[in-house]
Assembly symmetry: C2
Homo-oligomer: 273 residues x 2
Amino acid sequence: MTLFDADASPSAEPAAAAPADGAAATVRMVVAYDGTDFSGFAPQPGQPGVRTVGGVLTEAVSKVVRAPVELTCAGRTDAGVHAWGQVVSFPVPAGAALDPGRLGSSVTSMLGPEVVVRSCEVVAGAFDARRDARWRRYRYTIVNRPVPDPFRDRYAWWVPEPLDLRVLRLAADPFVGEHDFASFCRRAAEGTTTVRRVLDSTWVDEGDGVLRYEIRATAFCWQMVRSIVGTLVEAGLGRRTAGEMLAILRARRRDAAGPVAPPRGLCLWEVGY
Amino acid sequence: MTLFDADASPSAEPAAAAPADGAAATVRMVVAYDGTDFSGFAPQPGQPGVRTVGGVLTEAVSKVVRAPVELTCAGRTDAGVHAWGQVVSFPVPAGAALDPGRLGSSVTSMLGPEVVVRSCEVVAGAFDARRDARWRRYRYTIVNRPVPDPFRDRYAWWVPEPLDLRVLRLAADPFVGEHDFASFCRRAAEGTTTVRRVLDSTWVDEGDGVLRYEIRATAFCWQMVRSIVGTLVEAGLGRRTAGEMLAILRARRRDAAGPVAPPRGLCLWEVGY
């Protein structure tokens, strides 16, 4: 959808940038990135040496639209975590006449292939990538073979000891539903809830020792997916039982759960609106 | 096969390292590597600043077996080219008592995950990874989408313009059989032949715009696979016809063919003995 096309109307009045109904317009981008060399998504303006996905994206977008923008994202991924379907939004700057297709390809040619814009559109109204998201889906990939895989190393956790897929699946089931995830949450801000609703929690066997955990929830706590995966893997290795999971949830203490799985295996796959 | 196990017979006499029939014994390793940060496989001892897969492997193996070794490989991959099934061999050093399983895991822990030993065994007789190979299979991966893929970038060539898979397949057919590949060979040593026998030449559609070319031949000339892929892609883009391929082969001039495809997409997949 091209509401604002610099080519089509190079001398368009600023007023033309607003939709007919007079409401604000918002840019919505789907972004993929290799998070390996980033300190996470959230821009850290106070720390100039820290490179973040949001930081480089904000800089690139501001350069293309020639106005400062402030991005909102669906999931603030941690350092080393990847995304295939991160969603980012920002209000169309007042007076800007922009062609979303060209904005997307300009940003991709500035930041790709490390960070790419898979799609870019202008939507009418005050769309907010974070607030309006109905669910987020994460994928966590494990290479379960005696020898590491040079080609998957950046995007998977290598677990050399054999995992019992049947146990992994049994242990993944109890997470579905609404629970207090305090045991799987690194730190909750004062006065906020750690109750979340998980919609799916499944393991996919990709073959050749590649196992993929998929979890979809309305929202996630900090390090929730990696804490769940770290605990599930302990069960898959026989160090915990699948039956323990519900008790760990009920304990509401971080130390009741297992360790946090490494960031390299995690990918924000898709966001639903 | 564990002919020499340091654990089982820690005080074994050197003589125990030779098989019963008195013939030489050879170590045979299957090696996978991410070639991105290497100047190819072939060690370049005269140039100390040049990092090669063969160089780091020779150093690691010599350290573990505590004797200098000289490696032979099935395919001397170029700078930036990867391998999943490279085969490497070297004679068991005189007097060495080695446990091949342990040798493999030691080398992997020294060089992995960039370079890993997928299997390691000691075979009786004078096995030679290069001379004894009956065929080599290479894979070349292309991402054919408008936007590059952050997760495949190290291992695929990004071609944004749409490729016609039907034309790619038609154009791949004429390479099967015995031909003079001078048009697809960077430079042949004086007095050597550029005639090679191709056994398979096919395209696999992996879905989501990922296309894979597979070629199996008894042996390859220098840059042969990448020259073929570069020429096939020109056909797939409509800049050449599939029918031209046989004429290009017959021309026996390098400039009759298309450009060399980038190394990142190429992987030595398997070697047959």
